[in-house]
Symmetry: C2
Subunit: 251 residues, 2 copies
DNA sequence: TGTACATCAGTGAACGCGCGTTCACTGATGTAC
DNA sequence: TGTACATCAGTGAACGCGCGTTCACTGATGTAC
């Protein structure tokens, strides 16, 4: 119930950064409205999930007629894709920022903890976005190829820790022999993570990846219901265990 | 496009087990149709997911008018709940059967492998059912309390292995000190699993639980896309690793 | 054994809802001369 | 600087879809006397 242009005069032109090519009033308004549509879509995604994302509802909320949204967005699915991409990027940003925020970058355990706490924190702050990225696929919606790159940015933020772990931490405790056929099929993962990571660490890294996200999903989707009360402590414990199981050096 | 009663005469009365109180023709027909409705619902769930479960579509497929379904099912959500319960039970059956099928019940590793392979196999045979149980919650649908018991039957099928592991396997390798507050909040889990399982094994069991389901979900929901080719071998490797990390005795 | 009544499966129409998307239109904003 | 034209945001009506659920009804099956 808000006219799309109602506060345009106060926010729109003011927010034009100096130095950027001056935008006409139309281009400015277009930016405004586009941003508003995405924001409202984001709100719907957050409160009702992907199935609740509706162009009609967005239009309603923004005080415009449903067909007007099509001036800004080609279709519902296109908007959904954009929002998914945004979410991946947001999560990747959060994870990377957490990693960078550790003062002593040689403290691998601190970085490991920071990254995973940040990911879990984001998941709980944006449960529906998380479900969209790491939960069951949305029925009737096929993620386009564009999602692969942003998705791997998230993965990369902790995969990057495997190389220093390999050089600093010695070897993986309790190693299990890696079958040859499995070792052979790991090329792309090896390339993604970087040189110098032995197969058993690589594989345990994959396990940790699935294990951490599994723990977040279980917590978020209710599978852990009633299993333990102290969830923050549990999660920290899981983080620490994985660090040890990956051969992380003691602090 | 099938009349609900069309094959009633051939299947219905024949399937009455001898010894059971003879059912009237009406009661038999009712059973038939109810079963058919559930079967069709199951089919829709399997092919389109929970969002695609529609009473109207069921009626259509069964050749009856949409309102007729309400003679058999109180509402769409009630049917969904029933199907979810059925799915939990089906998965639990599969897991328990796999466990029981191991000839030498003292071979814990064989049982561990059998259970997890069975669970993964079921997940891939019924991806939408799996998503319903272990994926993101269905929007607008709140699982009633009735789901807790069948869900824990699945969990129980591998939790039952922790007690023999504790007595046979010595101790968890690379143990990590358990914070006191965490240990204190594990009562219900401890009660569920049974006596004699130390805290660190209990916690690593929870991690294994989340880790295994996380691996299945990642594989099924496409997160592992491109990470490795040899998926069966990878999963077996993960199963074996977890067995070792839980302190399982060498074969 | 036969009749009167109760039960209940299935019908067909309707209510009210929400959705994505298209289309011809008005009127304001921008641009070229 | 002023006018003619092009662009484009937003309108309002419509199409066609599918859904869950209710309700008064018909007619067959079952049951009590």
């Amino acid at each position: 119930m808000l006219h799309p242009l109602s506060v345009c005069g106060t926010i729109g032109p003011m927010s034009t950064s100096p130095g950027a090519p001056a935008l006409g009033i139309r281009a400015t308004a277009r930016r405004e409205v586009t941003a508003r549509i995405r924001a409202e879509g984001r709100r719907q995604l957050a409160s009702e999930g992907a199935a609740g994302l509706s162009l009609r509802a967005i239009a309603r909320e923004l005080g415009m007629v449903s067909s007007a949204v099509y001036r800004y967005v080609p279709s519902r699915d296109a908007l959904l894709t954009e929002l998914i991409l945004e979410s991946y990027s947001a999560l990747a940003d959060v994870a990377e920022a957490a990693n960078a925020s550790v003062p002593d970058q040689d403290d691998l355990e601190a970085r490991w903890r920071a990254v995973w706490r940040a990911i879990r924190g984001w998941a709980f702050a944006h449960p529906h976005d998380y479900a969209l990225l790491y939960g069951s696929p949305v029925p009737g919606y096929r993620a386009p190829q564009d999602t692969v790159a942003p998705a791997s940015r998230v993965t990369g933020s902790f995969a990057a820790l495997l190389v220093p772990l390999a050089t600093a931490g010695g070897s993986v405790p309790v190693p299990v022999a890696v079958p040859e056929s499995l070792s052979a099929s790991l090329e792309s993962t090896r390339a993604f993570v970087g040189e110098g990571v032995p197969d058993d660490l690589l594989l345990r890294g994959l396990m940790a990846w699935a294990g951490m996200f599994g723990a977040i999903s279980f917590e978020l989707f209710g599978q852990y219901e009633g299993a333990f009360a102290d969830r923050d402590t549990y999660f920290d414990y899981v983080i620490d265990q994985w660090f040890v199981l990956l051969g992380g050096p003691p602090a």
